[in-house]
């Protein structure tokens, strides 16, 4: 995994602290070209990974990336699936079963069976999970996706329900069908690591909030610091600034001081902030390595 990953919240009006800021950013990036220009700038800064939700708009971004190979030569994407609101709204509109059917790919070999209620009746969850992953992955066709993440709302739902087998299904399908490393995003890091261990997933990639104020770190800062230091997993730190609640330098120093954190994902709406954050990560990573 790359050390620095660029996140996409700013592109889609997601800000956990301010609705106003979220709206400004969603206006700033309302054209695909604005997103592409930002990505181009981010690549120039030496960050080569976009960690992105499978939001409808990412499909258009992927298409542009495919059409302009020179401009985005080194770009890799780490898809994070699914974009939950897409499903939640469909469930409100169509009901649970119809919504799931609606998202299965049209050319899936088992589609006819599912449409007739056969696969559903067989309760073949693995088939459904794989079908949904394939549907989400379609937009990334032809683009390197070395790591594929399961979004926290699904990871944590499966965790909470005790439906840990679904996490294993995701893991296996990502490895076998895409030759990629599966990753899990969570708000419940210590609990999730136990669950992944229980279904035999060794050394998983897990992305969780890791910030100095403990924002959305369920279990608390000491428990997080302990698992990062002692458990066998590949940590990706997100929400390191806690949506702006922590000063940049302090935030990055905290994360970089935990040497076993492999990658850091952050979003920004200006290249100046990208450059500044990357400099901070480089500086504090070197300092931590030197100690």
């Amino acid at each position: 995994m790359d050390r620095i990953l660029f996140g996409d919240n700013q592109f889609f009006g997601i800000n956990h602290m301010s609705d106003d800021l979220a709206r400004k950013q969603s206006m700033q990036f309302q054209s695909d070209e604005a997103i592409l220009a930002m990505l181009e700038g981010v690549l120039r800064e030496g960050i080569e990974v976009l960690m992105c939700t499978t939001h409808e708009r990412i499909g258009a971004i992927c298409e542009a990336v495919r059409q302009q190979p020179g401009r985005f030569a080194h770009l890799k994407m780490y898809p994070c699936m699914p974009y939950a609101h897409k499903y939640a709204n469909a469930v409100s509109e169509l009901g649970m079963i119809e919504a799931v059917k609606g998202f299965l790919p049209a050319d899936a070999p088992f589609l006819a069976a599912v449409k007739n209620g056969v696969a559903v009746a067989r309760k073949d969850v693995d088939v459904l999970v794989r079908g949904l992953i394939d549907a989400e992955m379609k937009m990334f066709n032809g683009i390197p996706t070395p790591v594929i993440f399961l979004q926290n709302v699904v990871t944590d739902l499966a965790l909470g329900l005790g439906f840990h087998g679904a996490l294993r299904t995701f893991h296996d399908h990502v490895r076998h069908a895409y030759g990629a490393e599966p990753g899990f995003i969570t708000m419940n890091l210590p609990l999730l690591l136990e669950a992944l261990d229980a279904v035999g997933i060794d050394n998983p990639i897990v992305c969780a909030n890791l910030n100095k104020i403990g924002f959305r770190m369920c279990g608390g800062i000491p428990a997080y610091e302990e698992v990062v230091a002692s458990r066998r997993f590949r940590a990706v730190a997100m929400s390191v600034f806690a949506s702006g609640a922590i000063a940049p330098s302090e935030a990055i120093e905290y994360v970089c001081s935990q040497e076993r954190i492999e990658s850091i994902v952050f979003g920004a709406s200006s290249l100046r902030n990208v450059r500044h954050t990357k400099e901070l990560i480089d500086r504090y990573s070197q300092r931590a390595a030197a100690v």
């Binding site: 956990h16 602290m17 609101h85 509109e93 649970m96 909470g160 329900l161 087998g165």
Partner: protein, 391 residues
């Protein structure tokens, strides 16, 4: 969170829709709860849940209550089913958490409140905004008279649920408790009840479809409170400009203004308030990152876990008079019902037209002018005399 070593509370769950599954995960992770049964009419979902989570499943609600014998229950079924399910549980002496809205029929709602209180049962309605750090902080500030005497409030609930003229679930049918009034506006009503109390009357209510065939997609109403306080409610679930449901409340007082949403709380103070020394004169902004208390397990938002933890704590303490009990949920139902009736009355006055609140007067004037125009056309002489005030 209560972590004393008592035997876990035996709890059951009715309904495995979106909210039901979310509740199931949260209940399952709570150390003081033992999920003893779930029930849903969908055999497909039930088999899935039974097979993969190993919780006992029932397709019949009464069977579940009688066989699993839970001490507590979470009801997350379509709204029209709440009344009978709540009654069956209360009659068996079970503490009940019911999803919002509490009851579509306010008369039955009142009877259920009385029944629960007579039996000293712990009850709660799932208005999760009451567990958001920003809204709790707004309530604390109001209690400390931060903005002086509140004279007006506004609550707005917008989001992208119904964006096309289709859909066929209970949420898209008003008689089943679907629609913007029961789904979105109730959150706004309850938030106002939480912050400034219950209104005496409503007026100018509009319940209108934008896309839906069988229910309302937008709701507007004016609310009047004791002492001349007023509020306005706007809810619209056909607003694509929002990524997900967004609820904002604004309160105006003699010493300033509070604006609160899920993410942040902004307070403007005309003069500093000694009892809130951390706030300065002028603008102050507090963010959810500082206001949110941690939860033991997170799914979609701290408030969903916090409300279940509150229910557990209320059961442990036998706290039947908590701020979000059935009586409180019933108060919200009453306001929703007042809005529904007021909108229906306006509809009759307007001949089936339901114009937006601000457009009521011009529309009626328009009809009056049309009538004058028709009279002039049909009988110009008589009309001229009438207009001269000389019949």
């Amino acid at each position: 969170m209560n972590t004393t070593k008592l035997p876990p509370i035996r709890i059951a769950l009715a309904g495995l829709g979106k909210m039901g599954l979310s509740h199931q995960a949260i209940i399952n992770m709570h150390p003081a709860l033992d999920l003893v049964a779930v029930c849903d009419p969908s055999t497909y979902l039930l088999d899935l849940v039974g097979r993969y989570t190993r919780v006992p499943t029932f397709s019949d609600y009464a069977c579940m209550l009688d066989q699993a014998q839970p001490e507590a229950l979470v009801i997350a079924t379509p709204s029209r089913l709440h009344e009978a399910m709540v009654r069956a549980a209360l009659e068996r002496g079970i503490d009940v958490f019911c999803e919002k809205p509490f009851c579509l029929d306010v008369k039955e709602g009142a009877r259920l409140v009385t029944l629960a209180e007579a039996r000293s049962l712990v009850t709660q309605v799932g208005y999760h905004n009451r567990f958001l750090g920003t809204f709790i902080e707004a309530r604390r500030m109001l209690a400390a008279s931060a903005i002086g005497r509140v004279h007006h409030a506004s609550v707005e609930c917008y989001g992208p649920v119904m964006l096309r003229p289709k859909g066929r679930t209970w949420r898209t049918s008003r008689i089943e408790g679907g629609g913007c009034l029961y789904d979105y506006a109730c959150h706004g009503i309850d938030l106002l009840n939480f912050l400034i109390g219950t209104p005496n009357s409503v007026s100018g209510s509009v319940l209108r479809s934008v896309f839906s065939a069988l229910t309302d997609d937008e709701v507007y109403a004016n609310l009047a409170y004791p002492d001349g306080v007023t509020a306005q409610l706007s809810a619209n679930w056909s607003d694509e400009s929002h990524r997900k449901m967004s609820t904002t409340v604004t309160l105006w007082g003699t010493n300033g203004k509070i604006e609160a949403s899920r993410q942040e709380l902004t307070i403007y103070l005309r003069k500093p308030v000694p009892q809130l020394s951390s706030l300065c004169q002028g603008w102050n902004t507090l963010y959810t990152t500082a206001l949110t208390k941690p939860v033991w397990y997170y799914l979609r938002g701290e408030e969903y876990s916090a409300q279940i933890d509150f229910f557990v704590d209320a059961i442990r303490q036998r706290r039947v008079d908590n701020h979000c009990n059935f009586r409180s949920g019933h108060a919200t139902d009453i306001v929703a019902d007042m809005i529904r009736r007021d909108a229906a009355d306006s509809d009759r006055v307007g001949g089936g037209v339901a114009p937006a609140a601000g457009a009521v007067a011009p529309a009626r004037w328009g009809r009056a002018l049309q009538a004058i125009g028709a009279a002039v056309r049909d009988a110009p002489g008589a009309a001229a005399k009438t207009l001269k005030g000389n019949p």
